[in-house]
Amino acid sequence: MRVGIEIGGTFTDLVRIDDRGIRIVKVRSTPAAPDAGLFDAVEAGGIDLEAVRDFAHGSTVATNAVLERKGGRIALLVTEGFRDILLLRRQDREALFDIFYRKPEPLVPRSDTLEVPERVGSGGDVVRALDEDALVPRLEAFLRDGGYDAVAICLLNAFARPDHERRVAELVRRIAPDLPVTCSVDVSRAFREYERASTATLAAYVQPVLDAYLRRIEARLDGSGFRGAFSMMQSNGGRVPAAAIRSNGASALLSGPAAGVTGAIRQSARSGVRDIITLDIGGTSADVCLIRDGRPDLTKEARIDTLPVLVPMVDITTIGAGGGSLVWIDDGGLLRVGPRSAGADPGPACYGRGGTAPTLTDAHVVCGRINPDAKLAGSLPLDAAAARRAFEPIAETLGLSVEEVASSAIRIAVEAIVSAIRLVSTSRGRDPRDYVLVPFGGAGPLHAALVADALAMDRVLIPPNAGVLSAYGLLVADYSVYDGVTRRRRLEEEAMPDVRATIAELLEGLTRRADELGLGPDRRFDVILEMRFVGQAYDLGVPIDLAALDELKASDLVAAFVREHEIVYRHGGLGAVKSVEIVSFQAGLHVAPETVPSLADVAEAEAAIPTIGARIYDEGRWHETSRQARSAVADGIRGPVALEDLTATVYVPPGWTAASDEAGNLTLRRVA
């Protein structure tokens, strides 16, 4: 048996796969003790842990430790003269017009930072030797009195010469053998000291929390006779054995949204679709991601609570539009949706938990797209009348009907999502019409066709049980490890032997790492060169065909870069005149998991969902139509109609049709 468990803010989703097919379980999360929620789900799923051979987990525990500042007490060691590295940051601010602006609380206060007498230059030259005689007594006093949980070390230019960091780590271990130590070069070999220090500190900061969390899980797993493989999701969309995430917790940060993207990639590949834009709409936010040829772009510019994380992450764009987003009128008279949210408590008015402000979810209830007679998470009935009441004040102000305001709110939310998709597509020179929109999450399939319509995309592919696609994504994810290194140099033919050597070195390192982790022998590599015109500050990634590496010429790389630059920026930046430089190399190693059945093969049938009459409001009028199980839907059914499975509602608007395929995916197409 294989089990994937994804813990979200509100719900914990479980997908189990065995010979009899797939089962899904949804239980409420227990934010105070997430591992308890995890085993609640295991119990609710009736899972015999002894029989589980693959146990994959995605958790927000690392992310939350940062957001709530509940990580470990960290000692930070930096090059002398630079103790304020985390406080000075990059000197800029996120809010441009906030006269009360403050920087977010740093993870390590100034008094927990110790300066190390040493200095390495850019080329790895030792400008000032490490003065151990001066350092050791200071370090002893510092660690003895500190009460620290872990140590992070970030020395200048360590990526060019790691000896000093390694030696300082040894000294720390000699003084305090029990303290975990994170060297910056082990989490990132990229230049820019603040970003690398931030990443190293984040890794050290979440480590005690992750470690304790994993220990509790492992104890219960062991106690239950579990003998399988326990893996954790990373933000790069791949997973690693749980033990490996302990040594670099940074890759667990923001891993939540990545699992869904991986699930969407695999599930749409079953229908032969590899160029997709994913749309995950939850309670407070919408995440979009563009995938070319089955691979998401990875970003190195990710941030958590504005703190940079220099590990490759699936490049997901998030906006504040979700089911809980509030609908309101501002003091200039403009109808707005979000960014404020009703949150989980009180939640939308229709939840009947005291919320009186209208939300996007209420708008769907008013318009009949969410079944007004449905029960919330299978228990509490929805309060459709409360949803209508919540919209009345706005309707009065605007002189419109309640349903017109509600459908307008949906259109405005859709437009915000459209803007986000433009940012990941047209804005980067990609035409969304060349992609299929793949929605998931509880509310994704409600909006997808409307979003596609606004972008002139003519196809939407909706995975089965889209509400638990993230948990499914855990089980279909590759095992992945990444490494990268900054090695700036001008791209000329003479540089190519070095380029090849650097790539070979990275691949060897990854192979060693995969061996250590015991990953399977069937390994796939990918390599991206981050390049730019000399003088620019932002890089563009160009993927390398490893099969042709030996014949690869610098001129091919320049041409590929110039082409990408033209696509993204609409001008080639005088490719013939200007030099191109490589800034860094990024490499990944992937091992595919064993084949997993489609998420459509759910053991329990959707037979329980009856076909009923439905009134749906769209295009300015009520339509008398139906609501039915999506598995029972006749091919080519025309909207407006609402289709349901156990975890999500699909809205097919007027002008769109729906059809299922063998993979269990539902395809919506615009009527020509």
């Binding site: 103790r83 000075l88 800029d92 804005s427 500050a537 609409r570």
Partner: protein
């Protein structure tokens, strides 16, 4: 106008302006654009009134696009424009800021009908003139670079494929491949904006898009007026000064009178000192932008987008021939110091009008710090803009060591400097204890950065302020520390002036300290825990 269409078109126009901005800075060569976001992008209606402007680029360029546009349209009426034409201008006395900022306006046609304009402005690395990057000794603006008066050209005829106007500009610039590359980025950004507006017209119809643009301006005007109406009617004053003009020791006074009458705000810089002979004069467009940035920060925050509507509710005047509205040919290159001080005096006047939003002034300077070195016939120039502390407020302490409120320039990573420059090295970069003005809520601290010179023949040039007159405290708070710059040469310490230029020697250590923000409220009223924390962290040493 359907309110939903309005909301959707407004949102789309704002996204378009932002998208233009991202394109521009991510492909830029100019370090001031890519690290400092010293650029702006926007959409204007068909009469040149700004409708939407990117709110992620720097505040000093907010709200003045239309001034430059009008200068162009006066000369070359909008009706005469054809597909492919564009306006271009960098003239400080025809609505632009300083010569480094080149503004471009591209008309957006849809089926032959003019819908509006997409606009971009970027600070360029070098635009010719008396010295690379910056000619500090300029006595008039002709010496500061190539002047592009309000002009009309055609992209196809004059620019593309090595067109004559491009060749003309390139011949006048020291690093043409970079400056021309950045102008190309500006055109690309404008093309993106134009596409987005055309897509809206195809979907909603040109008439609806135009109506939505007008309504968007009216909407911002309503929101700004609502915020002004909430301020008690009256006249409020603010005053501050710049250290000197770099030629003499006289402080330069900046004064403002802010009048609230119902929902109309007027801002008058009467009493401000006359223009100066050095490059510290702020062209009127900069004064307008600094004022509007302050109005936006204090009254509406990030939620209200910026457009022409705001300028309808706010009238701004500065005496002709003053530091904030100079007459030609006064040089204007270092206009930011005066712009910052005009921001500060407006902030002070607002503080008097709305005490619960009162904030003590911050260090608020552009500390332009430049090291250059000529070796083997090749010029190497390092330029960076520094931080400072913000003022304390009724709400809390001021932010430590952060880019000034009219800019948002990042620092340069030490590792990047190590890789790119071999004639100096950063030896330390730290917060500056005791530099925040004491108070119930202390001012933010400045920082100290030290530069070790590794070769002979390096030159230091600097323009800065508040080395003499620090950021004042408010409501009983104490002033922040002033900034300072010193060269340590053996046992000797050379004091560098705020506007200075001096040769260095190998082994010199430059210590450049930015100042703190003013404190708010009596220091004796400071919370005990906050005092302890400051001492424990070493933010306060006494």
């Amino acid at each position: 106008m359907n309110p939903v269409d309005q909301a959707i078109i407004s949102q789309a126009l704002l996204s378009a302006a932002r998208e233009m901005g991202i394109k521009l800075y991510r492909s830029a060569y100019s370090s001031v654009v890519r690290d400092g976001k010293d650029a702006s992008t926007g959409i204007l209606d068909c009469t040149g009134q700004a409708v939407a402007q990117s709110d992620e680029l720097i505040p000093i360029l907010v709200g003045s696009l239309s001034i430059t546009f009008r200068a162009c349209a006066e000369r070359y009426p909008v009706e005469t424009l054809r597909e492919g034409d564009f306006y271009i201008c960098n003239h400080p006395y025809h609505g632009a800021h300083h010569l480094q900022d080149i503004l471009i306006f591209v008309p957006i046609f849809f089926e032959g009908e003019l819908l509006g304009f997409s606009a971009s402005v970027a600070h360029h690395l070098d635009i010719g003139g008396g010295a690379p990057g910056m000619n500090t000794s300029a006595t008039d603006y002709y010496q500061e670079g190539l002047i592009i008066p309000p002009s009309k050209y055609n992209l196809k005829a004059d620019w593309q494929d090595d067109g004559p106007f491009q060749r003309f500009l390139a011949a006048n610039f020291r690093v043409p491949e970079m400056t021309i590359g950045d102008i190309d980025s500006q055109f690309a950004a404008c093309a993106v904006g134009a596409d987005r507006v055309r897509e809206l017209a195809a979907k909603f119809g040109p008439a609806t898009v135009k109506a939505a643009m007008s309504e968007m301006i009216a909407y911002v005007e309503r929101r700004v007026r609502a915020a002004v109406r909430a301020i008690p009617d009256g006249t409020y004053f603010g005053e501050d000064c710049l250290d000197d003009d770099g030629l003499s020791d006289e402080p330069l006074a900046i004064k403002v009178k802010l009048t609230v009458a119902g929902d109309q705000l007027s801002v008058d810089f009467e009493g401000t000192c006359p223009q100066v002979k050095s490059n510290l004069n702020a062209p009127f467009a900069s004064t307008v932008s600094a004022t509007l940035a302050c109005v936006k920060s204090v009254l509406t925050g990030d939620d209200v987008p910026f457009n022409e509507g705001a300028t309808r509710a706010v009238s701004i005047t500065a005496p002709r021939g003053s530091l904030l509205n100079p007459n030609p040919p006064a040089p204007v290159r270092a206009r930011m110091e005066a712009a910052f001080r005009s921001y500060d005096v407006v902030l002070k006047a607002f503080g008097a009008a709305i005490p619960d939003r009162a904030v003590a002034p911050g260090y608020d300077c552009t500390t332009g710090f430049c090291l250059s070195h000529l070796k083997d016939g090749r010029f190497r120039v390092f330029l960076e803009l520094r931080d400072g502390g913000y003022g304390g407020s009724a709400k809390g302490d001021g932010c430590d060591a952060v880019a000034g409120p009219l800019s948002n320039c990042t620092n340069t990573p030490v590792e990047q400097i190590d890789a790119d420059y071999d004639f100096f090295r950063i030896e330390s970069y730290e917060l500056r204890p005791d530099s925040g003005g004491r108070g119930r809520h202390r001012g933010g601290m400045g920082s100290t950065r030290t530069y070790r010179i590794l070769e002979d023949g390096v030159r230091l040039s600097i323009y800065a302020d508040r080395f003499k007159f620090p950021a004042a405290g408010l409501a009983g708070g104490e002033p922040g520390a002033p900034g300072g710059c010193f060269v340590h040469r053996g046992d000797e310490v050379i004091t560098v002036r705020t506007k200075d230029d001096l040769p260095l020697r190998r082994g010199d250590l430059i210590v450049l300290a930015s100042g703190g923000g003013g404190g708010f409220g009596e220091a004796s009223a400071r919370d005990e825990a906050a005092i302890k924390l400051d001492q424990k962290q070493g933010y306060v040493t006494a």
